[in-house]
Symmetry: C2
């Protein structure tokens, strides 16, 4: 691990309504030396917040520990309600290699952080994605099956035991999922229709699970304010799937229904290579590399 290594961390925690609690949890990260909070946002319906921050591996781990301590103090899962799947006060903590650090080292960092949390707070910890120790823990959705309430009832069964810490929910915090993954691209395409079933049908054609593009997860959702149906996607491996390919495939599938694309959006952050890739495709460039982007040399 090099001195200049930078890790991204995108923890999700189970509070999106009491803004003073959100601020206190975010501040526990901000006040850790050596990290920089790039973004955070809360959703009232989901009663959940997401923070994006970066820093050197040691500082990021410290910030995660501080955050867990603060969330444990202020969030009680017995009282938590919200639409989004969740099992704990801090629900999921992915570590993402950004610079001068590999996935292997991020996996180690995630497991170290997880074991320290389990030990210090008596919290059950699951390792997911690249940090998974069991195949059934690779997917977040499998770990969160039944939510806080369901896991509480089943955690004592061997096939739902955590990877670290007690096989018993923490009475207020619940449990936490920690892991390592590549940067994820959240890409949404709006269709020029108010018919949700069209977005759902297009999403089925897009997602890997149903024979679509590898490394793409997709669902159809309704945008109430705009009255448009949206294909909401996660591109989970930016080195394999391309934004332009997802866009063009949505276009040709929607055309089946005589529906055009109304627009698209990237939520949060995306790797430089993914943007360069889009330009390279539409401008018919044999080669265009991120080395050709001026700012890349200022890193």
């Amino acid at each position: 691990m090099q001195e200049n290594a930078v890790v991204e961390c995108v923890p999700n925690f189970s509070e999106g309504r009491r803004l003073e609690v959100v601020e206190a949890v975010v501040n526990s990260i901000k006040s850790t030396a050596g990290v920089k909070v790039l973004d955070y946002s809360s959703d009232k319906d989901h009663n959940r917040s997401v923070v994006t921050f970066i820093g050197n591996p040691g500082a990021v781990k410290k910030a995660v520990l501080a955050m867990v301590e603060k969330a444990k103090e202020l969030i009680d899962m017995e009282k938590h309600q919200g639409q989004h799947p969740r099992i704990g006060a801090v629900d999921v903590i992915p570590f993402i290699p950004l610079k001068d650090i590999g996935m292997k080292e991020c996996v180690e960092l995630a497991r170290e952080a997880g074991r320290e949390i389990a030990k210090a707070h008596d919290i059950p910890v699951y390792f997911y994605e690249e940090a998974a120790l069991k195949p059934q823990h690779k997917n977040l959705a499998d770990i969160r099956k039944g939510n806080y309430e369901g896991l509480k009832a089943e955690i004592s069964k061997p096939d739902r035991h955590p990877d670290s810490g007690p096989s018993k929910m923490h009475p207020t915090f619940g449990a936490v999922v920690i892991g390592a993954r590549k940067p994820l691209i959240a890409f949404n395409v709006n269709l020029a229709t108010d018919k949700l079933e069209i977005a759902r049908a297009v999403a089925r054609k897009l997602r890997e699970k149903d024979g679509g593009l590898a490394c793409v997860k997709a669902m159809g959702v309704m945008l109430k304010e705009k009255n448009l149906a949206q294909v909401s996607m996660n591109l989970v491996d930016y080195e394999k799937s391309s934004i332009y390919a997802a866009y063009e495939l949505v276009r040709i599938e929607a055309a089946r229904y005589g529906v055009d694309i109304a627009g698209s959006e990237l939520i949060g952050l995306t790797p430089l290579a993914s943007v360069v890739d889009v330009a390279r495709y539409y401008l018919k460039m044999e080669k265009l590399s991120k080395d050709q982007v001026l700012e890349y040399h200022l890193i």
Copy 2:
């Protein structure tokens, strides 16, 4: 001027054949503390080389002075031949604001460097583009009119006097043009034809001078190896002109002749905003900012 200010400098010098001379001149830059050479390339037909380097303003100025000294030692303009317009051993030195520095400060830096060169080496110095002191010196082409040989004969005339230094060519170095400008995008579009006249006709429709896109310079050239005609462009203000607009305008003008685009290329470096702009257009994004590019936060 802030502590973290970064300036880009892209000097062109009049040697592209004797590679030991090219290396020596480039090394004079490389060996200056605080600068980083990103790229350099030489052209034998032009007998000319281009270096791209970055650093803090003070270090970049030092590197420029070291480079002029080395070029003065090794290059004799009385013996120089080459197709490209030129008036001096180091021919043109643009300073480009990259980070935490404005154009005004780059203009000051250019003029300071120019005056030091004039004084230390008795070399005539012209200030161009944003650093120009006279309107007739704004355009590089106007200063270089007649090339080394022509300027040598006319430099004593008042309307061709330099902005600093003697009104007499240095006997071996010639003269130098120094200035400040925005980053320039060198964008070439290859047409699926071997007819140079089509590329020339398309270039005329593209360039500002003839009623095309503002801040675009364009010419038609022949790519001998590929046997394709090319529209070769400079986008001189990336905040005003867009790569996608130039590309699409080339496409519709070439279509007039039944000719398609075969491909395109960006030469050298381009600002992040210009690549983001391409993605935003083709993906119909209302908003996409360079803040959404992960690596931007590592700067």
